[in-house]
């Protein structure tokens, strides 16, 4: 912890060595964050780069009050959202009240690697991807998401529902068959 403080203050005074250390510490995890928000790894790399530039530029304003990882992660999410806002004008709101419920067992999910799951998330339409990430992973509620993304709460909800459905269908299509024989019944039992 002391080390991290030292690294942070080194970065604040513009020391290259400290910047590199900080990058080594956080880049893999933050790349994971960026990958979830981006449509592909190139966009994620861009966002990671842009995010770290922002981190180094603003690290002097970090007051050691909250979690540093939370702070840096917030910057990455913000960069991703900013990119989304620039790239995507608002899509017309779809009515998603009637989506057929897909049953996906936990066990199917358990059999999928994080990488595969991220690949599926990246395939989601941009706004669904954003809402899904903010709600499921960052733990924001719909009110917060609606403010963050300048959409209505209803849109946020429907986007999330739609994202879930698409993901479930995709997961089922791609991985469900393999797991069917061994885990399908177990899944039913569980639920």
């Amino acid at each position: 912890m002391e080390d991290l403080k030292k690294i942070i203050s080194g970065c604040a005074s513009g020391k290259k060595r400290a910047q590199e250390q900080l990058y080594q510490l956080f880049a893999p995890k933050m790349f994971g964050v960026c990958l979830r928000y981006a449509k592909d790894s190139t966009e994620a790399e861009d966002n990671l780069q842009e995010g770290f530039i922002k981190v180094f530029q603003n690290i002097g304003s970090f007051r050691h009050e909250g979690s540093f990882e939370g702070w840096i992660r917030r910057i990455m999410v913000n960069v991703s959202l900013e990119k989304f806002r620039k790239q995507h004008v608002l899509h017309p709101v779809e009515d998603v009240s009637i989506y057929e419920g897909q049953n996906v067992s936990d066990d199917i999910l358990a059999g999928i690697s994080a990488k595969e799951l991220i690949a599926e998330i990246q395939q989601l339409p941009p706004r669904y991807r954003m809402v899904f990430n903010l709600f499921v992973i960052e733990g924001m509620n719909h009110q917060e998401i609606s403010e963050e993304m300048k959409i209505t709460v209803g849109t946020s909800k429907s986007n999330l529902a739609r994202a879930r459905e698409i993901l479930k269908r995709r997961v089922k299509e791609l991985y469900g068959d393999i797991e069917k024989t061994s885990n399908y019944t177990a899944g039913w039992v569980k639920n």
Binding site: G14, K16, Q19, E20, Y23, A27, P28, K29, F31, G32, L35, R36, S41, T42, E45, D46, L48, Q49, F52, I53, F56, N103, V104, D106, L109, A110, I112, A114, K115, L117, I118, F135, V136, I137, G139, R164, K168, N191
Partner: protein, 475 residues
Amino acid sequence: MGKKLNIDDSIREKLDGFSAAPPLHVWDGIQSQLDGQRKKRRMAYVGWISAAAVVLLAFIAGWYFSGKSVVEEPVMVQQQTTPESNQEPAVSPQDKNIEIAVDQLAGTQEINSNEENNYETIADNKILAEVELPAQQNKSESRQVIAARPEENYSFLHRIEAIFTTNQSNVSLAKKRNETKIQESFTADKMLIAANLQNLNEQKQQEHGWIVGAQISPGYSSHSASHNESYARNMTYESDNGGSNIGGGISVQYKTGKRLRVESGIYYAKDGQKADNSFNLFASRNDMLYEAAPNASYDASTPGFSNVVQTGSGGSGISMNSTAGVIEMESTPRGANIAAKLESSKDATADVLYADGEFSQVFEFVEVPLYIRYSVLDKKVGIELLGGINAGFVIGNNAYLDNNYGVQNIGSTADISTLNFSGTLGIGLNYALGKHFAVALEPRLNYYLNSINSNPDVDYRPYRIGIYTGVYYEF
């Protein structure tokens, strides 16, 4: 609903701690971007410091000159430069304006020529860059490629010109050169070849080479002086601590690298001091009442001159202590009177010389410099720092009295060393006019490191602030 949340949780668990090693080029991109920002900041500092230094120097020079123009009466025939000194404070700020305006103009020219000549090639390069990086992994790299190209492209026309002109055996090509021809040959291959050739040419041209220059320098000269007590007791009083004059010369520079140059040359400079020892300032009024000769135009309100002198010392003439040394006169100057100083019984040869008017001493130097120049900014507008030493040869040493009879050469100052050394510091601002010519404005301070008077009683070191204005030609 419960099931949905369950899935959310599973997904969160899976993804929350997920990490993946980003490719190495991301860090490289971050570093180069941060370095770029650092460099920009540093350049901004250098720019501001240089600008501040120039403004400060110009201000100091202007302050000296303006102060001088109030005090000085145009009394010396030799000093024909009084009008220049009056113009000086007005000239330097104007020059600065011109510099700035020209700078801006240069900037827009660069941009224009970029757009006109290279729009298509930039686009080409972009495509090339993207093809080279099919995974689109390196947006930052491709951006750098795009950013780097316009600089190369900008000077393309110049490069073509340079290749043709340096290639002197190919005179016919140089004659054929025209805009349309060059436009036609705008293919990527030719450009690359031209760029490579030009890089070679430029390296040769920039790394080593000769530059000659000619400068003229309106300047302000003064001195620092100290004397031992017995000498100072009988010394003239300075009326004016400095004077304006004009100098100049030619210089030769040799480039030893991209930024460093060694310079020598030959310069002419003038330095002097004046003395109008008025009744009120130095010799007491009572002294004069006792000692005034019948014809003396004694009037406390009229500036006049009186000082103790030695007559017949060393078998010749009259000698008088001045700031720069002992002035030796062969005979009593016209319009001046010598009175016996009756009180100083200790010294039989002590007399008082008095006259209306002003004494002055003028020294002329030929200086051979050895300077190092360091180029801080080497663009269309360049900034250089220079410093070094000069060997200063005294080629003129005269003393004058200016009174009702005009300016008389009354003798010279004794014990002046022929060879002296001075140090110089300066800042050069130059503006390139084409490939070979540049105009320059260089405020310089030149300070004598040794006393130019070898008399142990006198320590007299002239200094000079000059605004060296001139042209340079680079081979």
